[in-house]
């Protein structure tokens, strides 16, 4: 089975995100870069399929030179080889342009399943997997929490509000992974050492025949409104009053219930 896992390098979830003074982007100083956690679920699932059915796992990653670390991380987990799409023209690519580049890199390869994370935790767009499927002309199942592959088809479980859908799909297909699919493994040290020697192809936009021209552009980055300091709810100082006030705030201010 030939499996492709697309990964992205993103700032660690705990990293401090500082918007540049001119709003043109974020300040990357001091940021710890990690593999997008949702992509990690995809890589893990790819490895599990490989362990079950045999075959090869190829990592495809678009990003600047530092993204090589993330490719190596996936290789250390057990993936076999990597393709690193590295071209300044693509660094600011939107979802569509990213998917185009990935599709161009994948087109020549044999594949049965392509894994993507359901979204990247930096731009939080959640589009690339679906666009990639469209560009490759194959079906996609997004937000998958469980996957069973059998022969030429797969059954994927996807949560929607209040229910779980079990979706059957033909192969090849794109699966976008989300939390619950698996627990990604911790790379072994021999894995880390071997990863340094595994082949990684570096490709630029010209080699892939893409321009990187984006249709959606973030024209301005703004810091979030300062999160108000925690509110201690006093209301009329009775439990009833506090409870009522709290429920009201959760409903109307936080909009979480």
């Amino acid at each position: 089975m030939n499996i492709i896992a697309c990964v992205k390098q993103v700032p660690d979830t705990e990293a401090q995100i500082k918007v540049k003074a001119d709003g043109s982007g974020i300040d990357e100083g001091g940021i710890k870069w990690v593999m997008n956690p949702y992509d990690e679920f995809g890589v893990e699932e790819a490895l599990r399929l490989k362990e079950k059915f045999g075959g090869e796992v190829t990592i495809v990653c678009l990003g600047p030179a530092r993204a090589m670390e993330t490719i190596r991380t996936a290789l250390a987990m057990g993936a076999d080889k990597g393709i690193h799409i590295d071209d300044p023209a693509l660094y600011e690519a939107d979802s569509y342009a990213t998917a185009e580049a990935l599709a161009a890199a994948i087109k020549g390869l044999p594949y049965d399943i392509i894994f993507c994370g359901q979204r990247a935790i930096d731009d939080d767009s959640g589009q690339v997997g679906s666009i990639l499927a469209e560009l490759l002309g194959i079906p996609v199942v997004t937000m998958v929490t469980k996957l069973e592959v059998e022969g030429n088809s797969a059954k994927a479980t996807r949560p929607i509000e209040g229910a779980q859908l079990v979706i059957s799909t033909s192969l090849p297909c794109v699966i976008t992974a989300t939390k619950g699919l698996n627990e990604p493994r911790y790379a072994s040290l021999p894995g880390i050492m071997k990863a340094k020697k595994k082949p990684v192809d570096i490709k630029n936009a010209a080699a892939l025949g893409v321009s990187g021209a984006s249709k959606a552009k973030v024209v301005k980055f703004v810091p979030p409104p300062a999160r108000p300091p925690g509110k201690i709810i006093c209301a009329d100082d009775t439990p009833e009053g506090k409870a009522a006030e709290l429920v009201k705030l959760l409903r109307e201010e936080a909009k979480v219930i």
């Binding site: 660690d12 705990e14 990293a15 401090q16 001091g30 710890k32 990690v34 627990e183 493994r185 911790y186 790379a187 072994s188 040290l189 021999p190 894995g191 880390i192 050492m193 201690i232 006093c234 100082d237």
Partner: protein, 735 residues
């Protein structure tokens, strides 16, 4: 019968009385016994060295210190005697035997050297003293043996077993009975001799046991006595020679291995772990098979006498976890004995393959010939064991629950009377699970990921590390590198709300004392202790190197810490990687400030306080006095000691990466908190943020959090300095 030339004023005895012609036979049998002894020992040595890897640590140089260890702990039994009853028991047997051994040597010298040369010395007053001493020694041994029999078969303390089941083997009884048999037959020979000669040798009353026994034999005819004597003489001789021959094949082997182990004992600071040096080229990491232990580590298990001192204070064992340091060492031993034939076969095949490939043929041939010898030895020597099939060292021989239950508290190693090094073995096996198989508790994986990404176990954003200090006017080294001390805060002191209070208290003490110090702020990283002790040497080294790079970059020379884990790592482990600093724990430093009168403790803050020794402060670094001194300097403070304290202190449960792992069954911290509660103290004083968490949680478990509290020494001192008004609690809804 020839007349003795001994008389009053020239007391003595004939050495081969009634056994004149036995001497050649005695030599012959002694020779055989010694050959068996030497042969057995040689075989054993072959196995240790054939299975285990080369020992990376220097175990030979510095012979003076090593000899001193051998004398103090091997010969003078210091460690053994630290434990009253078993100490006395062993000392009686050990010193008794030693005396009798020298006695026999005196006898032999007298007979073969001194007498023929005409300067016999075993005469007169010396002979009388000698006789008395020999009987006393014999008696001491008998008392020791009876104490041992009582301990092993009647009183049966838990430590001579595992969870109430004694781990006695026939060998234990044989060894004791052999010893008793030698002494008892010896007394009978003496008594029978005296029964015949007592009228000519009234001074034999000095051989008081033999004399008393002879009196009991009153009325025995001389021929009967002589015949009995001859028979008993041979029984005694065979028991004694049998004993010698039996040594290498029994628990008696410890007579050789334990002192040897003292000689080879590590001379490094307590708890030092040999770092893995070459990640790039090593083929395997840690200990996953028996062959990955060093020969010294296997040897260790042969020095173990199953005395159970380690088990008696092991926090894991005492709270019902499957781990017992004794069982662990014994399981390793049983396993390598089982694996010995196969391991050597494997080695031989490897060598043959090498030879076939034409590599180092000469060297391989030599080693092969050597191994053939071992092979033959094993056939003869290792008793055939039932085929148990392939067992994994880690996971089967040593269960994962055992492996991960260890808190690295160092109780076992500090209290072992055979200088066995348990903890490095455990870390070695953990390294295998973590580095090679990446198969370990998910919560520990999360911790490691957090350390990788944010350089702290909780995964709090690393940019928030210096936040605790932001209102205190403390400068970072980036702002002012010209300070005397770096205050290395550590993760708990930087991120944990409870730990931050300790950092703040200590920082305020330093400020009040006018100490020049700074912090690293967000440039500081996790010390890596939990990673290292949890087997993740790779992560540990990367964390250590990052810290060293930053600290060396600022030219840091002196460091203050509030966490014994960071203290220990920075002080003793960082030098492996080029980080050489003068490191002080805050309790040491506060003690210094008090003695130099830089700070004054004015206010009484707690009446009854018990101090919990942190393992990484106490056993690891011998800091027992300073924290107590500081506490005693607080006005009106009464220090109450827990029963388990100082070197026998009971771990809080957080060490050895256990802080980050789920604990099942009785929790170690609850057990320790109970011990603290039993002292009647109101406050548990600690010097470690992890102990602080563990003790606070323990008090909550026992429902004592309203009436008792756990405080760091820095907090107690800061309060006692009385420089800050306590803020009354605020009613949020009223203001």
């Amino acid at each position: 019968m020839e007349l003795s030339h001994f008389k009053i004023g020239h007391e003595g005895r004939e050495v081969f009385w009634n056994a004149e012609h036995f001497e050649p036979f005695l030599f012959f049998f002694t020779f055989i016994a010694l050959v068996i002894f030497a042969y057995g020992l040689y075989r054993r040595w072959l196995i240790w060295s054939a299975i285990g890897k080369a020992e990376p640590e220097d175990r030979k140089s510095n012979w003076k210190v090593r000899l001193k260890n051998l004398v103090i702990d091997g010969l003078l039994q210091r460690k053994v005697l630290q434990d009253r009853y078993p100490g006395i028991m062993h000392a009686l047997i050990f010193f008794g035997f030693l005396l009798l051994f020298f006695g026999a040597a005196f006898d032999a010298t007298e007979f073969h050297v001194a007498e023929p040369l005409g300067f016999a010395f075993l005469t007169g007053k010396f002979y009388l003293f000698f006789s008395f001493l020999m009987d006393l020694a014999g008696l001491a041994i008998l008392v020791g043996v009876f104490m041992a029999l009582d301990r092993r078969y009647l009183s049966k303390p838990d430590r001579l077993g595992y969870r109430g089941k004694p781990d006695n083997t026939p060998d234990d009884a044989i060894a004791l009975l052999l010893i008793a048999g030698i002494v008892i037959t010896g007394f009978f020979i003496e008594a029978l001799r005296i029964a015949v000669t007592w009228q000519q040798t009234p001074w034999e009353v000095w051989s008081f046991v033999g004399w008393t026994l002879a009196s009991a034999l009153n009325g025995i005819s001389e021929p009967t006595a002589r015949a009995l004597h001859k028979g008993m003489w041979w029984v005694h001789t065979f028991l004694a020679l049998g004993f010698i021959a039996y040594i290498p094949f029994s628990r008696l082997l410890h007579m050789i291995t334990t002192p040897a182990n003292y000689y080879m004992a590590t001379l490094r600071p307590t708890g030092t772990i040999e770092p893995i040096r070459d990640f790039e080229n090593a083929e395997s990491f840690g200990v996953g098979t028996i062959e990955e232990f060093t020969w010294k580590q296997l040897f260790d298990s042969d020095a173990c006498t199953r005395c159970g001192r380690c088990q008696e204070g092991c926090p894991a064992y005492l709270t019902g976890k499957p781990l017992s340091p004794k069982k662990l060492i014994q399981d390793i031993k049983t396993y390598w004995l089982e694996k010995a034939p196969a391991a050597i076969q494997a080695k031989k095949e490897e060598l043959r393959a090498k030879m076939a490939a034409g590599e180092e043929t000469d060297k391989c041939a030599k080693v092969l010939a050597f191994l053939d010898k071992i092979d033959q030895a094993i056939d003869k020597y290792v008793p055939a064991r039932p085929e148990t099939g392939e067992k994994a060292l880690v996971g089967e021989v040593i269960s994962l629950d055992e492996l991960w239950a260890c808190t690295n508290c160092m109780y076992c190693m500090e209290n072992c009377s055979a200088a066995i090094e348990h903890v490095p073995k455990i870390i070695g096996m953990r390294q295998y699970k973590v580095l090679m198989e990446a198969d370990f508790a998910p919560e520990l994986q999360l911790t490691y990921r957090n350390m990788e990404n944010n350089s702290n176990p909780w995964g709090v954003g690393s940019h928030l590390r210096g936040e605790w200090a932001k209102d205190l006017g403390i400068k970072t080294l980036a702002e002012d590198p010209n300070v005397e001390y770096l205050f290395y805060v550590g993760c708990a002191g930087s991120f944990d709300d409870r730990g931050k209070k300790v950092s703040i208290a200590f920082a305020k003490i330093l400020q009040a004392a006018g100490v020049s110090f700074g912090i690293l702020g967000s440039e500081e990283g996790c010390c890596g202790d939990s990673a290292m002790r949890g087997g993740n040497e790779y992560l540990y080294q990367s964390l250590a190197q990052a810290n060293i790079e930053v600290m060396n970059g600022y030219g840091v020379k002196k460091i203050l810490t509030i966490c014994p884990h960071g203290y220990n790592a920075l002080k003793k482990d960082y030098p492996h990687f080029g980080g050489n600093y003068e490191v002080y724990h805050h309790t040491e430093f506060i003690a210094k400030l008090i003695s130099e009168r830089k700070i004054k403790l004015k206010k009484s803050v707690a009446d009854y306080v018990t101090y919990h020794d942190s393992c990484f402060l106490g056993r690891y670094n011998d800091i027992y006095d300073e924290p107590r001194k500081v506490l005693k300097a607080v006005p009106g403070l009464q220090l109450l000691e827990m029963e388990r304290n100082l070197a026998k202190s009971f771990c809080c449960g957080a060490g050895g990466a256990r802080m980050w792992m789920e604990e099942h069954g009785e929790r170690i911290n609850d057990a320790r908190a109970k011990q603290a509660i039993e002292t009647g103290a109101q406050t548990i004083a600690v010097g470690c943020p992890f102990c602080l968490t563990m003790m606070s949680d323990g008090l909550k478990t026992h429902g004592k959090d309203e009436t008792m509290n756990a405080l760091d020494i820095a907090e107690i001192v800061w309060k006692a300095m009385d420089l800050e008004e306590e803020k009354p609690p605020v009613d949020v809804c009223k203001t």
